[in-house]
């Protein structure tokens, strides 16, 4: 049997859908009648994406300005270009996907888990390639300090993103939560790259990237919890 024959069978079976009970149509119309009023459509994608990127960048820079730009001052030009270009792409992808998740019927370029996993792996590869210090001085204590500071900066980005996109509607709340968490975590990671002067490979790979992973995971879990509560 060819595809065309299957097409013909499907077309024959599909024909016109049976009509819907007019009482049901009337009931739906009555239900919306009371609250029908003009609504303002959401702003264009590009506006929302730009706003998210600005929020993410502003929180990261403000945090680093408060704590000191010790990290970026120690970096070479090549390190600055490679790390911040990768972070910029990661932020743009996360912001784009977050906007898409909040608007039903949007085009999806990549799923949130792939963005989180792929972006983190790319950063780990870049950190591994650029940094050569394999010591682990004060690994846990300094790592926990960076992790805490990074996550602290993720919180305001998450809140501001929610405020910006609160009129949106996530058809897949877990995916939206994950990508919102990823974007928020990226603000924390950018702040750490600007601020933290510790270039030990394991410190950067484990504790700095953990901010994004934990934040993305927390976003997904939070969304799942909210959905479960109905």
């Amino acid at each position: 049997m060819t595809d065309k024959e299957i097409d013909a069978i499907l077309a024959k079976a599909a024909n016109t859908p049976p009509p819907v009970d007019s009482a049901l149509i009337g009931r739906v119309t009555d239900l919306i009648r009371g609250s029908i009023k003009p609504v303002r459509p959401l702003p264009a994608d590009s506006v929302l994406i730009a706003a998210l990127i600005v929020i993410c960048g502003a929180v990261a820079v403000a945090g680093a300005a408060h704590l000191g730009f010790f990290g970026i001052r120690r970096m070479s030009v090549v390190e600055i270009v490679l790390i911040f270009a990768a972070l910029a792409v990661f932020v743009w992808l996360a912001a784009t996907e977050l906007v898409n998740e909040m608007i039903p019927g949007s085009r999806h370029r990549a799923n949130p888990a792939a963005i989180l996993g792929g972006g983190t792996l790319a950063l780990i590869a870049i950190f591994g390639m650029l940094f050569r210090d394999y010591q682990t001085t004060d690994f846990v204590r300094s790592g926990l300090a960076c992790l805490g500071a990074g996550l602290m900066h993720a919180v305001p980005v998450a809140l501001a993103s929610w405020l910006l996109l609160r009129r949106g509607f996530a058809v897949n709340p877990i995916a939206a939560g994950m990508v919102a968490g990823t974007l928020s975590g990226l603000a924390g990671l950018i702040m750490l790259e600007l601020h933290c002067p510790n270039f030990e490979v394991l410190h950067v790979v484990v504790w700095h990237t953990a901010v994004v992973l934990l934040s993305g995971g927390a976003g997904a879990l939070l969304a799942r919890g909210i959905r479960a509560r109905g």
Partner: protein, 186 residues
């Protein structure tokens, strides 16, 4: 009604035009109801889900962008309502597991012929493939629109459609050979 007209109605609905909203509901409800029926909800559930979908659409109508394709937006919301319904049913522990029972077209009740009945024809497909075929071949959406409605990639939609056609080919072949076998015996 052409999709452009539906999009115009939706834009009027956003501006608070009740008659446009009513017309849109009349135009889209039959295919949305069929979407729910094909996805193996009972017919009564399909009516409830249809009503729920319109109320959800009403609540989030500001998320539609005039000029964008309407059907992916509507079906994305309908799909969300259906998934929500499944989850609630599962939580209650009352959901009937239809899917595994309806594995074979040939086993359709009352001697129904798959060629004539869309629900029977598509019942042989796994849920994700059924959804894709329904949107592509019944609602007349493009691959790009189906990808938008199901939050997936174009490649994934093509793959599901390809697998669905293979499965349908298999099942229709079996049904045809059974039919001819019966004909030979009588």
């Amino acid at each position: 009604m052409a999709e452009r007209d539906l999009e115009r109605l939706m834009a009027c609905y956003q501006r608070g035009d009740l008659s446009a909203a009513t017309m849109l509901i009349r135009e889209l409800s039959p295919q949305l109801r069929r979407f729910f029926v094909i996805q193996l909800s009972s017919r009564r559930d399909a009516d409830d889900l249809l009503q729920e979908t319109w109320l959800r659409i009403h609540d989030v109508r500001h998320t539609y962008r005039p000029g964008e394709p309407l059907l992916p937006w509507v079906y994305a919301i309908a799909r969300h309502v259906r998934i929500d319904h499944y989850r609630k049913q599962r939580r209650k522990g009352a959901r009937e597991e239809h899917v595994q029972d309806i594995g074979q077209i040939a086993a359709a009740p009352h001697g129904a012929h798959p060629e004539d009945d869309l629900e029977v024809l598509l019942a042989a497909l796994p849920e994700s493939q059924r959804e894709v075929i329904q949107m592509l071949k019944v609602s007349g959406m493009s691959i790009e629109e189906v990808a938008r409605a199901t939050s997936s990639s174009i490649g994934s939609v093509k793959q599901k459609a390809h697998r669905a056609y293979n499965r349908l080919r298999e099942c229709l072949g079996t049904a045809a050979s059974r039919k001819s076998g019966k004909g030979g015996a009588s």
